[in-house]
Symmetry: C2
Subunit: 315 residues, 2 copies
């Protein structure tokens, strides 16, 4: 039986109400691999990044400059940055949690970083061991110093749609946390559905609230998790609101350890499949991407948590 | 850690642009179990139906009156109908492929049936061993006789969004096949994404084409498959077009044997999760439904192909 892709499926049906092109922000090497039990050798990570870029991804987050004691999976941060091509025009941000991480990242020569904040106090304490206010102060200082060094800064916001301790996240708190994050100088803000509980109407209402509060939609990204299977519906909802940047992880690797689930990040290939069907350009070659996903699954010793990867593996 | 449901998640965010209530047409006992390798005892099937009804489902397709040689999993069709409560107000249709099946169904006392047709010639021959014209003629005769006996008839249309031999399905052919099916007297038509290749814009364009051709949106249902992870995005797209009936299968059991994938039918619990978040009423109790899904998975000896079932199993 012939693969759907070889048959010209999914059918591309354009819609003038949607953005004509979006950017995929690939988080597999960092957000994905940090959550895997296996420690992947730096050569394999470098090859993964090379393959993702060859597949057409233009933003590939490399790693995080965190304590190797806390996250041993990313202890090779500096070596991975050294192996990446930072002059190719592809964005290779790294996550930076604090001043020490920023120093290390700058010493390694990175040009872009990502910082984070939490909507909820509980997650801040559980994940970062500090209050929201403390995390925000550290993040603001990191952002200021990075910008002064000519380094771009992206902001992640966690637990935007709910929290595993506090339950629903009030939209007013999401708005105030977003504004506070933007005011530190980040270029954009990625709305994290950290435990995967967002649904499409909720996504739209949060985006509208942020736009009403003065944040341009071009500066809003969605970081959807597929824990409850809602990720693509949420992406479609965000597209209808004009969002043009989406986080995803090749093979769906990684996710939030507080979600108690094997499935976390939206798989990049599932996202590209939908965008292909919607006629929204991404620049990503779906076949090269699914080949990369299969290659990574081989190194991780388990099948990809992606519906597209699973289905295409039968052809 | 507390279950998201106990914390009041997903947050219900209503949207006046969506239908306030939809009907879920549960296909697990028939479409699901016919595709499973295991032959499930009739007592277990009857208990499954009872549990689905207790969870709040109001349309539960029971079985198919097909040749037991062709589909041994459904050889107990008559016994299952005898064990079901046909007077409870819950709809219990059965699938009927031909005149012989209709005779058996009527003899068993069924009040509703479902019939089917294919958009593509290739699927008609592969699945039914006859041309589209032959299948359509048999279906029209079955429908006429059923209506004369006071039995309601629902129509399934297969391969609406693409076919594993012919590739893309032209919308004009979907429209003509839909009109032909409606003209035989069926009360509604279920648009089958048999191999799971639909994406949201495609779904909307097909629904609009059908409505423009004079088919009321109230008579259109969507039968989404989650093979490539697109099912819920497609349901959301259909909701935006006003569709109010959705097929789904508890635990995601079953699917199309021609899709070469382990995942097929949209899982009912994933659908109910999204609708809960959208504030769209279904009458279904999500906790009772996921308990039923887990119970069925135990009988089938494998985990449910549902993101919600998988994630909630950790709590």
């Amino acid at each position: 039986m012939t693969s759907p892709l070889a048959l010209g499926l999914p059918t591309a049906v354009g819609d003038p109400a949607l953005p004509s092109r979006v950017r995929i922000y690939e988080v597999g090497p960092r957000d994905g691999l940090q959550a895997e039990q296996a420690v992947v050798p730096v050569e394999v990570k470098a090859e993964l990044v090379r393959r993702l870029v060859a597949a057409g991804l233009t933003s590939v987050e490399l790693t995080s400059f965190v304590s190797p004691k806390r996250v041993p999976q990313l202890a090779d941060a500096r070596e991975l940055v050294e192996r990446a091509d930072l002059d190719s025009g592809v964005g290779h941000p790294v996550l930076v949690p604090n001043a020490r991480g920023l120093n290390d990242a700058l010493a390694a020569g990175v040009r872009e970083i990502a910082v984070f904040a939490s909507v909820t106090e509980s997650f801040s304490r559980a994940n970062m061991g500090a209050s929201r206010a403390e995390v925000a102060a550290a993040q603001a200082a990191v952002t200021r110093e990075a910008l002064a060094a000519g380094v771009g800064v992206r902001g992640y916001l966690s637990m935007v749609f709910g929290d595993p301790w506090e339950g629903p996240a009030p939209v007013a708190e999401v708005v105030s946390a977003s504004i506070a994050l933007m005011e530190t100088g980040v270029s954009s803000i990625s709305l994290g559905d950290t435990i995967g509980v967002a649904t499409p109407g909720h996504v739209r209402s949060v985006i509208r609230a942020l736009v009403n509060a003065g944040i341009e939609v071009e500066r809003i990204a969605l970081h959807a998790h597929d824990t409850y299977g809602q990720a693509l519906a949420n992406v479609y909802a965000a597209l209808l609101e004009g969002v043009t940047e989406f986080d995803a992880s090749v093979g769906g690797v990684g996710g939030c350890p507080f979600a108690l689930s094997a499935t976390g990040n939206l798989a990049t290939e599932d996202l590209v499949w939908m965008l292909t069907g919607l006629g929204v350009k991404t620049g990503v070659d779906l076949e090269a991407l699914t080949a990369t996903s299969a290659w990574l699954a081989g190194h991780l010793g388990k099948p990809a948590a992606s519906r597209v990867a699973t289905a295409l593996s039968h052809y």
